[in-house]
């Protein structure tokens, strides 16, 4: 109970602070929409079947845009030495990490909810066909982005080049999750049944469980040196 209470307090604090400044969400949203527009100019719909590449395009955009939100996650604690006050408080490293992950997840999902209709219009793709399954894939893959990104945000928070280091470290780690998300999204948007791709969904869920457990176990060591 204490774990959840602390996590929720941290998540509410982060969301409240972000809603007041809108620094990360505005940057992430603008970046995502700009990439969607640029890709739509770069790809000729008469040559390429848009639905076939939709998963790849969508998750490239989400992955790049997420870095702007995830970079700010622990970095926002540096001003006024707030991170020290949190670590010195009775909040466990795991609760601090989980609270930040919840806030990041909410912000990333908000960006994705805005981007999906824009994507549908620009690429002339009917993305609502398997909406239930697509929502499950988006949520699972977004949690994967969140967990890895939040963990590396904690790891790189004291580095001067953290804006560069975070994507450099995060994207290679995310390859299995992104591959699964791209494959499943393409399958769903092209209207194929998910049955033959069940393994990708299990990979995505397994990735989430393993890396969430690892992050919760290791974050205390990362924060207290």
């Amino acid at each position: 109970m204490t774990f959840l209470r602390h996590s929720l307090a941290i998540a509410v604090k982060d969301l409240r602070a972000e809603m007041r400044t809108k620094e990360a969400i505005n940057a992430s949203l603008a970046f995502a929409v700009v990439i969607l527009v640029l890709f739509s100019f770069a790809i000729d719909p008469e040559v390429v079947a848009m639905a076939e590449i939709s998963g790849g395009v969508l998750w490239m955009v989400f992955a790049f845009a997420s870095a702007l939100i995830l970079n700010r996650s622990f970095a926002r604690e540096l001003s006024n030495d707030c991170l020290d006050a949190l670590i010195a408080s009775p909040v466990s490293g795991a609760a601090l990490f989980f609270g930040k992950a919840l806030a990041n997840f909410a912000l990333l999902v908000a960006v994705e909810i805005v981007c999906l209709p824009v994507f549908g219009v620009l690429y002339n793709v009917r993305w609502t066909r398997g909406l239930g399954w697509l929502a499950a894939v988006v949520l699972l893959a977004t949690w994967a982005l969140t967990v890895i990104g939040t963990m590396f945000s904690a790891l790189t928070v004291n580095l001067r080049l953290r804006e560069l280091m975070l994507p450099t470290l995060v994207y290679p780690m995310l390859i299995p999750a992104l591959m699964a998300a791209m494959q499943l999204t393409t399958v769903l948007i092209t209207g194929q049944p998910i049955g033959e791709n069940w393994l990708w969904l299990r990979l995505l869920a397994g990735f989430d469980i393993i890396f969430t457990a690892l992050a919760l176990a290791l974050v205390e060591t990362v924060l207290v040196r």
């Binding site: 307090a9 604090k13 409240r16 030495d81 020290d84 006050a85 010195a88 408080s89 009775p90 909040v91």
Partner: protein, 231 residues
């Protein structure tokens, strides 16, 4: 014993920032950690606050590990930064930390401390809109609002305005009167030795002197360095 430090070493790479430091502080005592820049005062306080781990030796707070949540619930810490969120109001800042420290009624505790620090009228204003002095008082309220049994203060009087210094001294006196322990690092010997019951002098990471604060120390802050340390 509220604080027990036994043979603590801290290395940064190969460099020993702390070398075999030992001291104790009992309930109701005020320990002034003094020493020149780079003596290791902040490093030692960070170990006691659970922000850093000792490379060797042991530091216990109320008989437990500094990283134990139960220990941290009884500890208040003020570091170099004010540790308040600029994007939150003063009330939201205090309610957040009251929740994290398990205070029974966070809203009431926040209102009470806004009143005590003279910030009640601006409690709903964002911290970023406050003057420096108001932010300092908010930081003091943040550190004291859970009535800690141990206060760890890193240079608590540095860059405080007169009102905040008076508030800090008054709160420290009240804390000591109710049996709390205070460990503070400081360069401002006059203010610190006025409150201190014990003194620990660090000299380049080593323990130069540990003992009760004497009348000579309080009367002449330079005495400590001349007698036990470096000039």
């Amino acid at each position: 014993m509220a604080v027990a430090v036994e043979g603590v070493w801290k290395y940064f790479g190969d460099y020993p920032a702390l070398r075999d430091i030992s001291f104790t502080a009992s309930g109701g005592s005020c320990l002034a950690l003094v020493g020149r820049n780079g003596a290791g005062k902040t490093t030692l306080l960070r170990i006691l606050a659970g922000l850093s781990a000792a490379s060797r030796g042991r530091a216990t707070i109320f008989g437990g590990d500094a990283r134990d949540p139960g220990t941290r619930r009884r500890t208040g810490y003020i570091g170099h930064g004010i540790a308040v969120y600029d994007e939150l109001s003063a009330r939201e800042n205090l309610e957040l930390f009251a929740r994290l420290y398990g205070v029974a009624d966070p809203a009431e505790a926040a209102s009470d401390w806004l009143e005590r620090t003279g910030l009640a009228a601006v409690g709903d204003g964002l911290a970023r809109e406050f003057s420096r002095g108001m932010r300092q008082r908010l930081a003091i309220a943040r550190a004291f609002l859970h009535a800690p049994g141990l206060m760890l203060l890193d240079e608590p009087f540095t860059s405080l305005d007169d009102r905040a210094i008076a508030l800090m001294q008054e709160l420290l006196r009240q804390a000591l009167a109710r049996g709390a322990t205070v460990v503070m690092s400081t360069h401002q010997l006059r203010e610190a030795l006025e409150l201190a019951t014990h003194v620990c002098l660090l000299v380049r990471g080593r323990g130069g002197h540990f003992g009760e604060r004497t009348a000579e120390m309080a009367g002449d802050p330079g005495y400590l360095y001349r007698q036990y340390g470096e000039l």
